[in-house]
Structures are given as C-alpha cells and as structure tokens.
C-alpha cells in the first residue's frame, strides 16, 4: 500500500525561533492509527501545526509528502480541502456564526474540491442526521454559535462530529483527550473508533496513555525533544505508563 503521509528529516520552528522539531521521520498509511506521545515541550503541538499549515510555523529542513506531494507551500485551507483534518486541542469560538452554517460552508468547500456537488440546506440536514447517531450530540449544540459557551466535552465532541461530516483522509487529533471527564472521553473515543476506515489514517497526539485504552493504535511513537525516540506497537504505551518518559528522553 502506498504511503498517505511521509515525513522525512523534518526540522521546523516558530518563525524566527529555534528549531522545535529536529529531524522527524514518520510514515503513515491509509487505514492506520498512529499515536504520538511525549512529554510537555517535546514538539507534539508543533508537529500538528506544521502538518496543518498553521501560519507562523516554518519548515527549515526536510519534507512532508501527502499522497506523494509536498505539503510545503500549500495554505491551511488547501490542505484541508485535500483531506487533512485537525481536531483542535482548543477549538476556537466564533461568535454569531451558527454551528450548522459553519459546517455546511466547510463541507461544501471540501466537496467542491472533490468535484462533488454542493449540498443545499435540506440535503445537508439529511447528511447531518445520518452522522448524528455516531456521536452523542444534541440538536441544541448544532444550533448554537460555533464553540461559544460549549463545555470542554461539547467542544471535543463537536470536533469529532465535524470530522465525521468532512470525511478526511488524514485526521490529526491534537490532545483530544485533554479536559475530558471519563464519560466524555468514552463518547469521543467511540466516535473516533466508528470513523476508523481502511481509506483513512488517524494520527493521535496525546500526553496520556488513557486515550489509548479507548482508541487502540496500530503504532505508538514517542516524541522527545523534537525527535521520535521510540516506535512500537501499543505495548510501548503501556510500557511508558509504567516507566515514564524520562529514560527515553535522555536517550534522545
């Protein structure tokens, strides 16, 4: 199977600063679920920002190929329309913009790129209803302004709901478990599990092992000081839980 994402010797930084990522190599195929774990300051969020094309970050060395094409030079919106989805650690509030309206605008932007017809309001509502059952989301949430006044759990559920609607090829979940109580975590994890698909890769970035109890990864990587210092299957995560990051970090 061909690679969906190929990261080679990636060095990146916040514009003008020092390198935070110092030579990342990672290969992700469609259908796989990868977990990237690591201590604070390892560069986890930088990696997700660089993949999504967040302004203010720059690649200094190396390459990121997505479906065989270099991502550098593409804007965040172009990457999104090509099927890269980032579930935010801190989803952003957009006052006055109805959640449904926002999602429809996003979906139609993505569909247009795929060469599919844009959905009108009625078709869109039908698509929404079909996906609602995936997640425990109330209608009320859909009618409210994007993320405004949402609880932590609601925000994360909303992110996964957007992912369900947009059907990305590559989903990056940035600390999706942070700030969730156990029930919310279970609900979000169930949603993600239902979105596992042979045509879709998922990269989970997380600080804690507990998310992996609910979403079982095919591969686990440990990121420390800007490099991947260990890779393995899910047992690596269990190992980490017992022994901590310290011994791996010192090896970096």
């Amino acid at each position: 199977m061909t690679n969906l994402l190929t990261i080679e010797n990636l060095h990146a930084r916040i514009s003008g600063g020092r390198d935070i990522l110092k030579g990342i190599d990672l290969t992700v195929k469609a259908g796989e679920v990868h977990a990237i774990m690591g201590p604070n300051g390892a560069g986890k969020s930088t990696l997700s920002s660089v993949l999504a094309g967040k302004p203010g970050y720059e690649v200094t060395v190396g390459s990121v190929l997505y479906q065989g094409n270099e991502l550098q030079g593409l804007g965040p919106d172009e990457r999104a329309r090509e099927g890269i989805f980032l579930a935010f650690q801190y989803p952003v509030e957009i006052p006055g913009v109805n959640n449904m309206y926002f999602l429809r605008a996003a979906l139609n932007a993505v569909r247009k790129q795929r060469g599919e017809a844009e959905l009108d309001a009625a078709q869109f509502m039908k698509a929404v209803k079909a996906k609602l059952s995936l997640l425990d989301i109330s209608d009320d949430l859909l009618k409210r302004p994007v993320n405004v006044g949402f609880s932590g759990g609601e925000k994360k559920r909303n992110e996964i709901f957007q992912m369900a609607m947009l059907e990305p090829k590559l989903a990056i979940l940035d600390e999706t478990d942070s700030g969730l109580d156990i029930d919310a975590l279970r609900a979000v994890a169930n949603g993600v599990n239902r979105l596992r698909d042979p045509g879709r890769a998922i990269v989970m970035i997380t600080h804690y092992q507990r998310l992996l109890d609910y979403i079982e990864p095919d591969f686990v990587h440990v990121l420390a000081d800007g490099k991947i210092v260990a890779s393995g299957d899910k047992t690596l995560a269990t190992d980490l839980e017992a022994r901590g990051y310290a011994h791996l970090a010192s090896a970096a």
């Binding site: 999504a52 967040k54 302004p55 203010g56 804007g75 965040p76 919106d77 990457r79 999104a80 329309r81 989805f85 980032l86 935010f88 989803p91 952003v92 509030e93 957009i94 006052p95 006055g96 913009v97 926002f102 999602l103 605008a105 996003a106 979906l107 932007a109 993505v110 790129q113 302004p145 957007q162 947009l166």
Partner: protein
C-alpha cells in the same frame, strides 16, 4: 425581481432607441456658476417652480446657515470645505454618462458581479443614462397603481410639493428644524430632490418601498430630502441606498431624512450606504454628513433604524428617535465599517419624552487598515418619561494593528424610574479564528467574511431578506485585503 429586471432592460433598450432617433437632442443644459448666496436659493426654488412658502422656508434656513459653524465635536479629521466653490444646481445632463457597459470601469463591473447584482441593474448603477425615461415605464406605473389603490403616496419630493402641498407643509421640518445643525440648514436651503411617502391610517404598505426604485434613488443627488409619514396604525418598511458602489462626482453629501409615526404606526427604515470611500491612500471619497431623525408622535408608535455603513471617506450620521408618545419604541441597529483611511463617527440619539417608552441600540463597529470608527450615542430620559427603558450594546471589532475604535456614549436621565443598560465590548479577529476556519477548508476571504457576518448578525437579521444577502457580501468586499 424579474419584473424589476425586465423593466431595466426595457428602459435600456428604450434608451438606445432614443439615441438612435435623436431623442436626446432637445435637452436644456443649464447650470449655476459655483457659489452660494440668496440668489442661488431663489434660483433653485424658481427652477423647481416651488410655492412661495417653500422659498421663504429655504431662505430662512439659508440665513440661519450663515450664522452656524460646521460642527467640530466629532472625532473626525475633515479638510476645510469651501462651500462657495461648489455648484448648487445643475440640470440633469442626459447622455453625459457612459453609453454602454463597454465604457464602464471593469473594476466596478467586477464588484457588481461579486455582489450578485442582476445584469440589467448593473448598467443602471454604472451610471448609464437610462433614468431619463425611467418614470414613464409601465411597471413603475403599475407599482404606483398598487400603492395608490390603498391611498399610499410615494413620489419624488418635488412631485409631493406640487401634488400634496398640505402634507409637505404640515410635516416638513417638524422633526429636523431647519436650524437644527449646520448641515441640515444647508440642506434645507439648497436641497435638490428626494423621496416622499405617506401611508394613510390603518394601511400596511404591501411592499418594501424602494426595492424597485433604488436605482432611481441612487441618483437623487447631493442634498437629498426624504419625508415619510405613517398615519395612525399604518406600517411601512423603507429601503434606502444600494449595496453597489455608487459613482458620484460630488464630494459633499448632506441629506436630511425625517420620519413621522403617528399613534400606533410603525416605520422601519433600512439603509445600506456604499458611497465611494476613496482609494487606499485616502484620496477622493464622499463626505457623508446626514441628519436622520424620526418622531414617534403618538402613543404606541415605533421607529426602527437599521444601517449598514461601508462606504464614504467620512461618515457623520446619527439616526435618532424622539419618543414622544406613551409606550412608543425606538430602535437603532448599526454596522459601520472603516477600512484604509475611512473615518466614521456614527450612532444615535434616543430621546425619551413619553411614559413607558423603550429604546434599543445595537451598534457594531468594524475597523480595519488605518480606519477610525467612533460610536457616539446619547440616551436622554426626560422628566415626564416614567418607566422609560433603554438597552445599549456597543461592540467593536478590530482587524490589524493600525486602526482605531472608540465609543462615546452619553446618558442623561432626569427621571428616577428610568432603567438604562449599557454593554460594550472590543475584540479582534484573531489569528486562531482565521486558522480554525481555514483548517476546515474555507479560504481566507470566506473565513473573514464568516467571522464578520457572525459579529454583525444581530444587525443583519433586522434587514429585509433580499437586502441582507447583498449586505453580507458587501461586508466581505469592503474588507477585502485587510487580512494576510
């Protein structure tokens, strides 16, 4: 809408026919030399064949104007205006505009396209001379017929002076007295034309006034005069302006709008103002110094102002309500955008005179580029206004680092039973919001448009549907290039 479009096409083709057969040869071109004195006023009045009382009224206003100074309290930087250098009367010059769309600035046409203005209307908006025959078009007559059947009068101000002098004389200047301020006095002295509407008792006007007529309205000149009267328990919704950028050679615009709502009547007045704002360096652009005021002159009357101000180099404008009748209601919903070097000082006055009067003020100011945006509002509760209530919400949104937002609310309560609430916020379009939207697939332009429209939502929802859609696009267009 389609009737509208057809009409324009008809008119255009009629215009072309007209040219072919030499239709426009017999046009009297007369223009006053620049300058302003009593003779100018007399000349204008005579040209318009006005009755003696109106000439006297103009002259009185002119004498008053001479004693007044241009206001300098607004937070505006205005280069001195030489009032003697302007021309105050010029007869319509048919054929002076572009003859076809080929002669129109392609940039302007591109903007019309982005706004979704129907093809037929674009020609008229671009200033192609079609209005000479506009009034004789059958569709216009049909609309007028529909209105007349219900006793509604809707015509040009000049026509109202001729046909309905008793109504004009009774109400003209009754809300904005000629000497009210420098610009209103100037308008009273030299006003060119404008619109007049009268809705008889108990009649609900069956259409938004001026959706069809807006192309005409776009040309009504530098010193426009509008007078709208809703008699007892009548209702009317009036739309002023147009979302398309308007060409105009005159730099100074000083209009006066007066609304009168009698007992139980309601007037909803919506404006989209998109005069030429000047270029990115602040050269050119319209000075829009408007006096707009409505009086709730009976119990249970209601006046609602909604404005979307995106154009003009300088905007000086405070649509206000005099809440005279008991239980009367005043509303002001405003979006004002300043980009590049635009300046806006705008807001409202709510004067509570009657008992149980209520007012609502929702103001949204958006500043981008080096624009300066000031909300200036006054809420005044007079001694007899028992149980008056006001709610004011004043939000500012900043885009970039070189713009400014200012809020200057005045509150003056002379009755202890009054309840006045004021909320204000200032925020920025954050990089995080932009990134979030873009990460979901929206282009930078669409992302900004979405955020701005969200910010303005409470105001935009007050606009009539058709207007609202265009206004949304206009907001995005006005801010094009302000991010990134």
């Amino acid at each position: 809408m389609s009737a509208n479009l057809d009409t324009v096409e008809t008119v255009i083709s009629a215009g072309e026919e007209g040219y072919k057969y030499g239709f426009v040869t017999d046009i009297e071109v007369d223009e006053l030399p620049p300058g302003l004195n009593e003779d100018t006023v007399r000349f204008i009045s005579a040209k318009k064949q006005e009755p003696a009382w109106l000439l006297e009224w103009r002259l009185k206003a002119f004498r008053r104007w001479q004693t007044l100074e241009a206001p300098d309290w607004a937070k505006l930087n205005i280069a001195p205006i030489d009032y003697q250098a302007s021309t105050y009367y010029s007869a319509p010059k048919a054929g002076s505009g572009p003859k076809s769309l080929d002669e129109v600035d392609p940039e302007l046409l591109k903007t019309y396209e982005k706004l979704g203005i129907p093809l037929g209307e674009r020609a008229a908006l671009a200033g192609i001379a079609v209005d000479a025959v506009f009034d004789s078009v059958s569709v216009a007559t049909t609309f007028k017929g529909t209105l007349a059947a219900q006793g509604i009068i809707f015509c040009s101000f000049g026509e109202a002076v001729r046909e309905h002098p008793e109504l004009v004389q009774k109400y003209l200047g009754s809300v904005v007295p000629p000497g009210d301020n420098f610009f209103s006095a100037l308008n009273c002295a030299v006003f060119s034309d404008g619109s007049f509407a009268y809705i008889p008792p108990g009649v609900r006007c069956p259409m938004e006034l001026s959706t069809y007529f807006r192309i005409n309205a776009a040309k009504s000149g530098q010193f426009e005069r509008t007078l709208i009267i809703a008699d007892k328990n009548a209702y009317v919704s009036y739309l002023e302006g147009c979302t398309a950028p308007q060409r105009d050679e005159n730099q100074l615009h000083a209009a006066v709008v007066e609304l009168i709502a009698l007992e139980g009547a309601e007037i909803k007045y919506s404006t989209v103002q998109n005069w030429y704002p000047g270029d990115a360096e602040g050269k050119g652009g319209i000075y829009n110094f408007v006096t707009k005021r409505g009086a709730c002159r009976g119990d249970n009357a209601k006046i609602s102002w909604t404005q979307v101000e995106t154009g003009s180099a300088i905007t000086w404008k405070y649509p206000s309500c005099l809440l005279e009748g008991d239980n009367s209601v005043g509303e002001f919903y405003s979006v004002a955008i300043t980009n590049n070097l635009q300046q806006a000082d705008t807001g409202t006055k709510m004067i509570h005179l009657g008992r149980n009067t209520r007012s609502t003020i929702i103001s949204k100011g958006i500043s981008a580029g080096r624009g300066q945006n000031t909300y200036r509002g006054a809420v005044k509760i007079m001694p007899k206004a028992e149980n008056a209530r006001n709610y004011t919400q004043c939000d500012s949104l900043l885009i970039g680092k070189s713009c400014g937002a200012h809020a200057i609310p005045y509150i003056d309560s002379r009755n202890p039973t009054a309840r006045i609430e004021h909320e204000a916020t200032a925020s920025k379009v954050s990089d995080e919001q932009m990134f979030y939207c873009q990460q979901r697939g929206l282009t930078q332009e669409d992302a900004l448009s979405l955020i701005i429209n969200g910010f303005c939502k409470e105001v935009l929802k007050e606009l009539p549907m058709e207007f609202a859609v265009e206004a949304q696009k206009l907001l995005a267009l006005s801010l094009e290039g302000s991010v990134g």
